[in-house]
Symmetry: C2
Subunit: 344 residues, 2 copies
């Protein structure tokens, strides 16, 4: 078993100095690929299962089994950001910016396209249907009458439409939530494995904003880091790239779509292609932080030209969401994958 | 103007090595108190005002002016955790664990005790009244009838009670939200200054979980930190202690209550006392991460014995919240403060 996680530096809270935390840097040679190949198993050994894990896996398993019997497609959608604790009694953590907009909108379009959806999302991030009501208080939507409490007249039409959709699709939608990186990875692994029964009917749509860096549990301080120690140096390890075992071991027959969020446009296509070459999955959707609601770039592993999806200003104004076009596009790609997989 | 923020280390993303980020440690001498005394002005110079700042300050000012005319008490309640960006195009940030439970519950009890409340809270953290509905979907609360959309029968009693309270108090409650540490500090300063008009009628209840460490804007990378650079070292600066200018300059006549959240019980009373000795405000409420819903320790600056508030199991089971007792206690302390302030 590799012990490379232990060789690298961590938070050193040096109580012998009043003037600052001290940090040692590692001098050990470091090779990213070698770590990737080895460390995902170590990660699961070092981080215990989340609360309610077995109950959640049972629910996931039931969805997959029922869908397999009925030959229904199942989309696993991951959504929202993962957290990385900096302390064992977690007061502070590193978080990734993600409201869950992409994932929650996409869930609605996958449902409308006939998929069963497992929505693996950050607790309190946006959820399908209720996302449309964000920023509005329920107390401003409902009104008290002497005999009843009703939805106010100006909200009736919208609430009727949303509630009807919610009722129509709720039996096709399984919501599972996570907070930490570790919770997320445990649930991702288990879900992918349970989806194996679906073969190429399974689609993975990895829209969650997953931490790249973490502090291994063995290297975290037990108590809250005291600010009286002065400036703080943190040394974070790379999270093992779980896409590697996901594609080769956990979900070898599923159609797998990942995202690359960048802030630098110059890196977008290159990063997407590098990811496909490295992990051999099916589609990478590149997007930029500041244009992600109107522009994405779909890159596939067959080296065909990247496909752009853009919303025009008029589409945007009329309320069309880019996710409707993304899922329409992916549905066709998944059709082809399924046809080739069956006959191949 | 001190330039000590520039003297200390930051993220060094050394592109000349493939094997890891490098970090330099500062060798400059460092004195916490000296930095505290000087840096709060620098912080505001280096971090620009949040969006909608002027509109929000106008709303805050109106609340204070109206209350001053009517001689009403105003409580500023801060609630939820602040974020600290790690990048300028913020993808990653450090966050503090805080759902906003303490602040949102306390807001309800301050309103019931006759205060006007300015609720300065982390965006999407718990809010008064709606906090009771967390985890429940609005779509499961309401039901579609042919003619109307109504609140389902089993939710009627609770929703009626909550909606009535919300309606009764909403004109006494101003909700202002923040995300980052910088947003929070700008709004805290401005609110405290606008509350000066209230003299000792003003109460500040600082329940937000404010970051202790941050990366100065001048030292942040512009683009998303790439994981291909290997392990990441972060060097965080101490946030200037804003309680010092808050007590002496921004709100010199207000009754000020701060919180100390610890995970180590042995440190609780000592930390609370140290804080009072350092900042000369009025009450520190000490609490422990794992018992904060059933136990707090109130320490005041007159060196009288600390006062414990505990919820018994039966109180907890009957739905009593510890915040009802905290606010009852603080109301009496604020009465005394007001009486002495007027005659003193």
């Amino acid at each position: 078993m590799p012990d490379s996680l232990q060789e690298t530096p961590t938070i050193l809270h040096n109580s012998s100095t009043l003037h600052g935390h001290q940090l040692e840097t590692s001098t050990a040679p470091y090779t990213e690929m070698a770590q990737d190949d080895l460390n995902w198993k170590t990660f699961f050994e070092e981080n215990s299962k989340p609360n309610h894990f077995d109950e959640n896996v049972k629910l996931i398993s039931e969805v997959c089994q029922q869908a397999a019997i009925k030959k229904l497609r199942v989309a696993l959608i991951t959504s929202g950001g993962t957290t990385v604790p900096l302390e064992k009694n977690t007061v502070r953590f590193i978080d990734n910016f993600s409201a869950g907009t992409r994932g929650s909108a996409s869930a609605e379009y996958f449902l409308e396209a006939g998929y069963q959806v497992i929505f693996l999302h950050r607790s309190k991030s946006l959820e399908p249907y209720s996302r449309h009501l964000v920023g509005r208080s329920i107390f401003d939507i409902i009104e008290i009458c002497p005999e009843n409490i009703i939805v106010g007249e100006k909200h009736q039409a919208e609430m009727r439409k949303l509630t009807e959709k919610y009722q129509r699709y709720k039996s096709s939608l399984l919501m599972i939530s996570f907070n930490s990186l570790s919770d997320y990875l445990w649930l991702l692994q288990a879900t992918a494995q349970k989806m194996q029964i679906l073969g190429p009917l399974a689609l993975l749509y990895l829209a969650a904003a997953v931490s790249d860096f973490y502090i291994p549990a063995s290297q975290m301080p037990c108590h809250k880091i005291q600010s009286s120690g002065g400036p703080l140096s943190l040394s974070l390890q790379l999270v093992p790239k779980m896409l590697a075992p996901l594609v080769t071991l956990w979900a070898p027959n599923a159609f797998i779509v990942s995202f690359k969020l960048e802030t630098n446009e110059a890196l977008l296509e290159t990063k997407a292609k590098e990811s496909l070459e490295k992990y051999h999955h099916h589609v990478v959707i590149g997007n930029l932080l500041h244009s992600r609601k109107v522009y994405v770039l779909l890159v596939d592993r067959n080296n065909s030209a990247p496909e752009e999806i853009r919303l025009s200003d008029s589409e945007l104004e009329s309320g069309i969401e880019i996710e409707s076009k993304i899922i329409e596009n992916l549905k066709i790609r998944h059709d082809n994958y399924y046809a080739n997989h069956k006959t191949g």
